[in-house]
Symmetry: C2
Subunit: 156 residues, 2 copies
DNA sequence: ACAAATTAGTTCGATATGGAAAGAAATCAA
DNA sequence: TTGATTTCTTTCCATATCGAACTAATTTGT
């Protein structure tokens, strides 16, 4: 029987951190997005609405960048949202490759109804932590997230 | 920092934390799972292999619980893995509703080849943080993740 | 001006995921 | 025993996600 890879202290620590981080992020998301999803707007869609509402019309590529997702993805999300009447595409006249996505009145109305309680839920969800802990956690997350991109000198 | 939504300090803090947490978790996952995926094993599949390799045969329901995912989901993941020959289903003789999933020799071999370098990558990825910071981050994540489940008194 | 390279979006195929409902087997109630 | 309920798994449908290949429009190189 393979004895569970009794790793070093360092390894246990890293594995443990990875799991807890993933769990925390998922738990928070589940908790916070529940009501949004119940309102018929998926998390991705809500993110797009957020960007368009607060920033203004954006190209598909920019939206994708903002979400750290691939643009082929945004096509499908925006397709769905367009079908629901939340957003609309508009071709740029100057550069006809570019397509602007803009929020519709309906989208604006729905988003503005969801946003305040969304913020409330987030505040509530993180209130398990003291303000100082929230700051610390954010800082540690930022530091971890900004880890240098490994240029993959790997080879087995 | 031009913030959208001019909210209270508390709200900015919470929103900021939420974003950074999600980003950190995603960045870490992307970074760590890259090689696994390159080896032809999806993150979900790797998780299943991990459980089966280290714990032994499990029912679909238990695997789903372990991953905090829904069981209807596991059916599809296990389907794919069975097709690839990584695992196999075995019906329980006592309770014929139950299906045990077990790792195959092929699955065991593939997993045992991927696991050590996987751990290495994780250690490497979190090494941006000092051991103390890793402990702190894990603790904060745990605390946040264990936030009381809102029993949702709103039964309409 | 025309071919090549680049850029923006889209399409396709595969995987993952969740909710709802169906199927199958076990258990419980009368 | 039979019918109702519960439990485990599957199926169906919709969404999301990514990589690869494709189309269309712009820019660049010669």
């Amino acid at each position: 029987m393979p004895s569970r890879h009794q790793g070093t202290e360092e390894e246990s620590l890293a594995l443990d951190l990875t799991i807890k981080l993933a769990r925390a992020a998922q738990a928070l998301m589940n908790r916070v997005m529940g009501q949004i999803v119940a309102a018929g707007v998926s998390p991705s869609q809500f993110g797009v609405l957020d960007a368009l509402y607060h920033v203004g019309p954006m190209t598909l590529g920019d939206i994708a960048k903002k979400h750290l997702k691939s643009p082929n993805n945004m096509t499908s999300v925006v397709d769905t949202m367009e079908r629901s009447g939340l957003v609309e595409r508009r071709r740029c006249e100057q550069d006809r490759r570019v397509i602007y996505v803009d929020i519709t009145d309906k989208g604006r109305e729905i988003f503005s109804k969801l946003w305040p309680s969304h913020v409330e839920r987030i505040v509530d969800a993180v209130s398990t932590l003291s303000p100082q802990e929230q700051v610390d956690l954010a800082a540690l997350c930022k530091k971890l997230g900004q880890a240098p991109i490994e240029c993959d000198g790997s080879h087995d």
